[in-house]
Symmetry: C2
Subunit: 422 residues, 2 copies
């Protein structure tokens, strides 16, 4: 029978108290602590050797044969262990004292972009809608008055818009955000409309704050995907879901908390009320989008690689568990297939390559790498895991793009004609 | 400047600790305590005289002139006060000890109904949808496979259905709940589909648990509307919203918590998982529906009586703040006007009177009374406040339908030919 116990874990100066059942590995236990981002590119399979911790105090299971391969005998003698192969033991009257070894650096995420083909047409524009004053003879509701004047997108009929509509009651003109001839949101007088464009990479997550009417990017936040502790690539992330009963929920909570916090921070930094935040739009590979909705992506990992959905979808963020940002909507553009996600559809659309007559190659080299070839008439796509080349999984001394990692090297010839590192 | 203080209130045997700002009346403070349902039919205007409490200990503001009209001098001398006209004073080192006087009885809510015109056609039926097995040649997503076989309602494209779809992946047939030719929900194998039909009356709230395929009512829960403490009728409820900055939010939270709890209790009592709970459907007068969505109904109270919305609307319950039931949807049928709500549209529809050729009168006598006359070709509606006749507002000795109130009287002639109460 599994037994629930309380673990006291001390990492460096900080003490954490967490619940764990028998059979929980130290890696699983540490994943519950948001402060500790223990790198586990293989997802806890015992073969990447990255989730090293040093046991300083407390009782744990003895080293397993698997640990002797990635760990040198010398490391084992120093108390260094693989967290994914180590089980806390005993009654833990003595707190478990550890020192994390990898994954402590600040990550460096590339977020800049420039030039390219700009979007030819801005999607949104504002439109003033004039309403007749209500009277005893004309008792139509405020929403009916609006829908009688302008085509309204069904998504606009929601509690949030109704509250906004109420606050503007009595006004004879309303300012609507229009998208393809339909009103999609009500704007507050004198206010701009904002959106967040979100790129959920397997390794990194970037949230851009966008002013919708001008299309300009106000600011951004970038971070390592908090799910990284569950595995570096889509396959190990999918395995992490299947390894525990509430796996989907756990990984969903992880990414939702992160996006929630990043979007809220951006809004706060720029004094943007949630009322002006019209929509979040999130792209990512098909697995990332499954995990965002809490949908188990298991079938993506095995032949015939069927995703549960590739369709585009919108829902209130509250439904996904957002807390700081809670009264807006999130939109997921459609994906193409299990390994060609909405990041590609969005990239192809935004870059405008399908409006070119000459062939264009679109490359998205991330942890998962996708290539789309526009031949002037048709789009051809393929994808492959590209991550291990950049992220140091399954190699002894490699690491991801953290502070301290070599990110560029250049050589110059000095006065004496000798070549040296600049 | 308003100052936040902590009030310790002892009512009978129970001690409550709540926060209150300067200028908060005792009624406003007590409204924060779900256990105390202090009757305040006038909504705190000082003229119904129902929110009586006896001050047993602690410092409060002296009696105001308004209190001498509804309270007898004798009552005042006994420490009886109107909670809506009394302000807690002092540092409250001494807890405020009170005794509530009214509103302690268990309410009796009429929930039974019988006979009448049954719905001729059950809205829902189940349909088995056959899917081709997926293969490397056919990598359509599971949702695409389903939408390629059957018309799917847009509302079905949501995270919850996708999770259900994932759990049934590999099955070559799916059981769908159909509504007017469109799939609206995915059924679990061997499971029934349930819904909750909710009647939000100004005074009473009833939640019926319905088995959707058979249309049979499994069980129900009935209670006084928890918003009653904010006022007995729609007008005093609307005034309660305008009297405080977060009024809409406060009244919304009150009804949402109540419905959440009632629906969750019904599901638990009958072992129904949230997965099988397809939808809640809530009707009520237009003000009640505004309050349910957190929309300020202020303009309903003043000429020209414009509601913010009369349209029908669906949204995830999580968006309204449901917690126990959090992964289903709520549907609000359309209303007709500010004082002719969705309860009437639903009642007229369910009773089938518009399918009759003879004239029919449809009466809904509640706190708000509505009458609909079907003349064989057209429906005519009117409404008026009917509550005071039944609820004892603004009268000295009256009370609502609580235990102990006289609810029926009959007289019989005894053996000696004398008339006496039976």
């Amino acid at each position: 029978m599994t037994q629930e116990r309380v673990l006291t874990i001390i990492d460096r100066e900080t003490t954490y108290t967490i619940g764990a059942t028998d059979g929980t590995t130290l890696l699983q236990a540490l994943r519950q602590i948001p402060d500790i981002l223990l790198d586990a590119p293989c997802g806890g399979n015992g073969n990447c050797g990255k989730c090293k911790v040093r046991i300083l105090q407390g009782e744990v299971s003895p080293p397993q044969p698997e640990e002797t391969h990635p760990l040198a005998a010398e490391e084992l003698s120093q108390g260094i262990r693989l967290a994914c192969r180590t089980y806390p033991l005993g009654n833990q009257d003595l707190p478990l004292k550890i020192a994390t070894i990898h994954g402590r650096g600040t990550s460096q995420v590339m977020t800049g972009f420039s030039g390219g083909t700009p979007l030819e047409v801005l999607r949104f524009h504002a439109q003033e809608i004039h309403l007749k004053s209500s009277s005893v003879e004309d008792q139509r509701s405020q929403l009916t008055r609006l829908t009688d004047e302008v085509a309204v997108h069904p998504a606009m009929k929601n509690p949030r818009t109704l509250r906004k509509l109420q606050r503007q009651i009595g006004r004879t003109s309303l300012n609507c955000l229009m998208d393809q001839g339909k009103a999609v949101a009500l704007l507050n007088p004198g206010d701009n409309a904002f959106g967040c464009a979100i790129d959920i990479g397997t390794t990194t997550v970037v949230v851009y704050l966008v002013e919708l009417l001008s299309g300009s990017i106000v600011d951004h936040r970038a971070a390592l995907n908090a799910q990284k502790r569950f595995g570096a690539d889509v396959i190990s992330r999918i395995e992490a879901v299947s390894r525990q009963a509430n796996g989907s929920e756990l990984l969903q909570r992880s990414i939702v908390q992160q996006l929630d916090w990043m979007a809220a921070e951006l809004c706060e930094a720029h004094g943007i009320s949630e009322d002006s935040l019209v929509e979040l739009c999130a792209v990512g590979n098909t697995t990332m989008l499954h995990l965002l909705l809490g949908v188990d992506p298991a079938t993506i990992a095995v032949a015939p690689f069927t995703p549960v959905f590739t369709e585009s979808l919108s829902c209130p963020v509250a439904q996904l568990g957002f807390k700081h940002i809670s009264d807006t909507y999130i939109h997921l553009p459609g994906s193409i297939a299990s390994y060609v996600g909405a990041d590609i559809t969005a990239g192809v659309f935004a870059s405008g390559i399908t409006r070119q007559t000459d062939p264009v190659l679109f490359l998205d080299i991330g942890t998962n790498g996708e290539i789309a070839l526009w031949d002037g008439a048709q789009l051809h796509c393929c994808s492959s895991a590209a991550g291990p080349a950049f992220e140091g999984a399954s190699i002894l001394h490699g690491t991801g793009g953290i502070t301290g990692a070599v990110s560029s090297v250049s050589w110059v010839r000095d006065d004496q004609g000798r070549i040296r590192k600049s």
